[in-house]
Subunit: 246 residues, 2 copies
């Protein structure tokens, strides 16, 4: 049962925090060949854009706004989320260096994009992107593939939110991080995210996330060297916590 291989893999921040990354995103040897390929093709968009910056917690765009720009993230991390009238928040995805945001819709933004930490990005006028998509089939295919990947990620996320217990969610999440960064047992994962962001992504409260991290640590399955770092001690045992999902 390995259908969620693509899962929310591309969801989390890379190691470098402030070092601006050049156009070829840092993810050297990223296991997802498709992603790399798409980004290569889509990097021909680069010349059309202008650099811009967002401070931590600043909003790139709001759900419902007319879609005027798309962005490629150069450094930092962005959360894509839905906000409700009474303040509840559901994070759909995290985007990091090399990823695009605002490419997937037409008309209006479906999600709000906020900077998890300071972000440098390239902004593209939507009209130009649309023209590229119309004119170049390779770019069209690239965008198409990204959207398909997003759909899959969202569907994988549905299982997490619909069927998993807190322990399973956190375990799956850590495994996603590890897979995404290509780390092995014993290597440090820089997760960049605070407990609240993780909670909003997993549909839990920050206290529950914290307790679950603590429990996994107590069992020796993971280590928590410092704030926003995790080390997987045993991928096998962590996987065992996910009840066949991950």
């Amino acid at each position: 049962m390995s259908f969620s291989g693509q899962a929310v893999r591309k969801s989390l921040p890379p190691m470098q925090s402030q070092f601006p990354v050049a156009k070829a995103p840092a993810a050297g040897g990223h296991p997802n060949a498709v992603l790399g390929q798409e980004n290569d093709v889509l990097s021909s968009l680069d010349t059309l854009g202008s650099v811009c910056r967002f401070a931590r917690n600043e909003t790139l765009f709001d759900q419902g706004q007319d879609l005027q720009s798309s962005y490629k993230i150069v450094s930092g991390a962005v959360r894509l989320c839905r906000l409700t009238a009474d303040g509840r928040r559901q994070i759909a995805e995290f985007r990091v260096a090399g990823d695009f945001v605002g490419l997937e819709w037409d008309g209006q933004y479906a999600l709000t994009a906020e900077a998890v930490r300071d972000v440098v990005a390239i902004r593209y006028a939507r009209s130009r992107v649309d023209r590229m998509i119309a004119e170049r089939s390779d770019i069209r295919e690239g965008v198409f593939g990204l959207i398909r990947r997003d759909l899959r990620a969202a569907q994988d996320h549905l299982i997490t939110l619909g069927c998993q217990t807190a322990k399973e969610r956190v375990a799956s999440f850590i495994l996603q991080l590890a897979r995404r960064d290509g780390t092995r047992d014993g290597e440090t994962i820089e997760m960049q995210l605070g407990r609240q962001d993780i909670a909003d992504y997993l549909g839990l409260t920050l206290e529950t996330v914290s307790r679950t991290f603590t429990e996994l640590k107590r069992k020796g399955i993971i280590a928590l060297p410092k704030r926003r770092q995790v080390i997987v001690r045993s991928t096998a045992r962590l996987t065992a916590q996910t009840a066949g999902l991950n």
Copy 2:
């Protein structure tokens, strides 16, 4: 806060249960112009397909299988879901007459498709669909649009599963049904789905769904004339149960 207008709207069974519907799906006056339009364009695929039937609970295809066929549903209803090793199930979407399934991915099916009730469908060989997508830009656009709509639906679904209480989920769900069928207060909605399917869609147990229906009925917000029928008595009061979401 009306961002979920697109939501899982296209998710549920139409009124006619067994009457096979001709190629122009029954949904006369469907509020979603885009959907209608897309289907019109995509109906030019019809000539490529062959009719097939599936009994209630039969599987159209399994997650992970190589994607060989796409289907257009003529009558009945299909659930698209993920199954876990230990028997948990999360339904991502329901598809009904006029909808396509298996169109959205390449490579392998990401979800399992099962017949909620007896289904008549048109099957298209994937190779032919791919050719059409490559050759005809209007079809390509149609498919593209459908996938974008699916993505939006999935993201809306994330909020339901991540943030809403049982009462809010059920209320949102009924409102989706009503909107989808275009019914007004006092009109009967044929939902076609059993409590278990609703539960698996909403990330609840069937008992909780049942209790919630009962409570809404007791309050006079809805009526439950018979099995698998609902009548919304007050859309306003029902909306009030959703905490700004729906």
